[in-house]
Amino acid sequence: MNDRRKVDLTRGVKGRFIRDRLMTVVFTGAGWFAILFIALIFVFTFREALPIFTDPEVSKEANLHEFFVKRVEGETIEQQFVWQPVGEVPKFSFIPLILGTLKATFVGLLFACPIGVAAALFSSEFAPPKLREWIKPTIELLAGIPSVVLGFFALLVLASWLQNTFGFTYRLNAWNAGLALGIALLPVVFTISEDGMSSVPRHYREGSLALGASRFQTAWKVVLPAALPAVFASFVLAFGRAIGETMILLMAGGNAAITSFSLSDPLRTLSATIAAELGEVVFGDPHYSALFFMGTLLFVLTFVSNSAGQWVIGRMQRRMQGES
C-alpha cells in the first residue's frame, strides 16, 4: 500500500469535511445543470414552432389544417396534397412527407426486423461462445458506421445495383432508401432482442430440454415467446430510429416530395425536409415555423415510441429477475 493513499483520520479533519461539502455542491450543481439543459431541449424546440398557434401572420399560412387536411385543386391525389413551401402561394401539406417517412420506415423495418431477430436467436441459442464473442463487437462496428457513410453507400453503390437488378425507373426510390435505413436499424433490433433472449432464465431452457424438446424447439417455442416483449420493444425502438434518421434519407431517398404510394418512386421524409430546407429559410417565416413544427412532431413521436419501448424492456427485466 502506498503511503499517500492512507487517510489520516486525525489531521486536517476540517479540511476534509470542507472538501466533501464543496464536492457535494459541485456534483449537485452539475446534475442540476444537465437536468436544466434537458428541460431546455423540450422548451426550445416547441418554442420556435409556437407561432403556428399564436402569431396571426404565421398561422394564416401555416396551421394544422394546412399541414394535415387541406387539399388543393387537382385531379389526382398527387396534385391535391403538395409540399411547396416557396412560391407565390406556398403549400404546406405534410401528407407527402409523412407518406415518404412511412414508406422508407416500412421497407427498413421489413428488412431489419426478421434478419435482426433471426440473428439474435442464433447468437443467443446456437452460436458457440467463441463465435458469440465475435458477433457482438462486429455488430457494434456496424452500428458505429456514421449514417452519412451509409447514405453515401446507398447513393453511389446500392442504388445502381438495385436499378440494374430490378430495373427501377428511378434510381433513388423507397426500396433503396429503405434498405440503407434497414442496415442502420439492424444493430438496434439485434442488440435489444439478443439482450432479451439472453436474460431468459436458464431453467426455462433446462425444463424444455428435460421434457425431450430439441434445442431448436426450445429456442423457437420457449425462449422466443419468453423474450417476445424485448423483441417487440426492439421493433418499436427501431421504428423511432427510422422516422428520425436524416442523412441516409436525405442522400438516398431522391428528394421528391410527391404523394405516392409506390415504393419505386422517389421520396422525401420529414427529417430530410428539415435538413434540406432549414438552412435557407428566413427566420420567423411561416416556413421556418412549419419546419420547427415538423421537428416537434418527430420529437414527440420518437419520444413516445422510445418511452413505450423502454417501459416494455424495464418490465420484462424486472419480471425475469424476479423469476431467475
Binding site: 431541449i41 458505429g144 457513410v149
Partner: protein, 344 residues
Amino acid sequence: MTSVDLDTTLTRRIASRSRRRFGEIVWVELLGLSIVLILAILGVIVADVVIHGAGHVTWTFISESPRQGLTEGGIYPAIIGTTFLVLLMTAAAVPLGVATAVYLHEYTPPERPKQAWKRFRAAEGPDRRKLFGTVLLSLLAKVTRSAVANLAGVPSIVFGLFGLGFFIQFVGRAMDAATQPAGQILWGQGNLLWAALTLALLTLPTVIVATEEALRTVPPELRAASIALGATRWETIRRIVLPGALPGILTGAILAISRGAGEVAPLLFTGAAYYLPFLPEALSSQFMHLGYHVLILSTQSPDVEATKPVLYGTVFVLLVLTFLLNLTGVLIRARTRSKLRAGG
C-alpha cells in the same frame, strides 16, 4: 398388439423424429445465415470504401486544402475541423455527463419514489421534513433518468433544431446585443462553439447512461466499508467508486464520442461550412467537417465522376476515425471483462 407392430411404430417414430431433426438443422442454418448476411453487408461496405478509397489517401490528401471546386487537393481543413469539434464536444460532454451520473447514483436517494413516499407517510416528528426532501429527490432522479434514456433516442436532426433555436437564435443573439456594435453578428450564427455544444448535448445521454451503469457495478459493500472506516463521501467516490467504475466510464465515453464524431445532421445549421480555405481560428469561426464534406461531395457535386476519388478518400478517413474510436472502446471493455472473470 404384436411385437412386429410395436417394432414398426417405433421405427416410424424414430424416422419421423430424424426427419424433424433434419428440418430443424435447416432452420438453424437459416438463422445462422442471417448472421452471415449481416457480416456480408458490413464486409461489402468496408471493402468498397477500402478498395476505392485507401489508394487515394496520401500525405498530400491529408495535408492540403481542397482545390479545383473540391475535385482535387486534400481534406486537411475538414480533418482539423472535425478534430477541434470532437475535442470541444468531449470537453463539454464527458465531465458534465460523468458528474451528472455521479450525482444521480451517489447523491440522490437509492429508493424508488413510491417507497420513499410510504416512509414519509409513516414517519412522525422532526424526521418528516427530511423525508419529504428524500421523496422529492428520488422523484427528480426518476424523472431525470427516464428523460435521459428517452433523449438518447431523439433524432439528431431535432438536436440540430435545438442548436439553432437555442444557441444561435437565443443565446447567440443575446451575446451579440450585449457585446457587439449594433448590426454586427458574431455569435448569432453557426460556429464551432455552438456546433460542439449541440453535439455535446446529443452525446450527453449516452455518457450519463453508461456512467451510471458502470457505477452500479461497484458493489455497495465497498462504499459502506469506506464510510465505516471514516472516509467522507467525496473520498469514497474518488478513491473507491470512480477507480472501480473507470473502465466502464471510459468505454461509454469513447462510444459516445465516436457516435458524435460521425453525426452530420446537427451540424447542418450550426456552423459546418461548405468550403473554407483557412482553418478555424476561434470558437466563433465556421469549420469544415469530414461527414459534412462527404454529404457535399456526394450530393452537390456538378461532376460526380471527377469527385469520386476525393469522396471515397474522405469516407475512408472518416470510417477509419470512427472505427478506431469504436475499437478502443470495445477493447477496453473486453479487457476489463476478462479481468473480472479472472477475479482480478
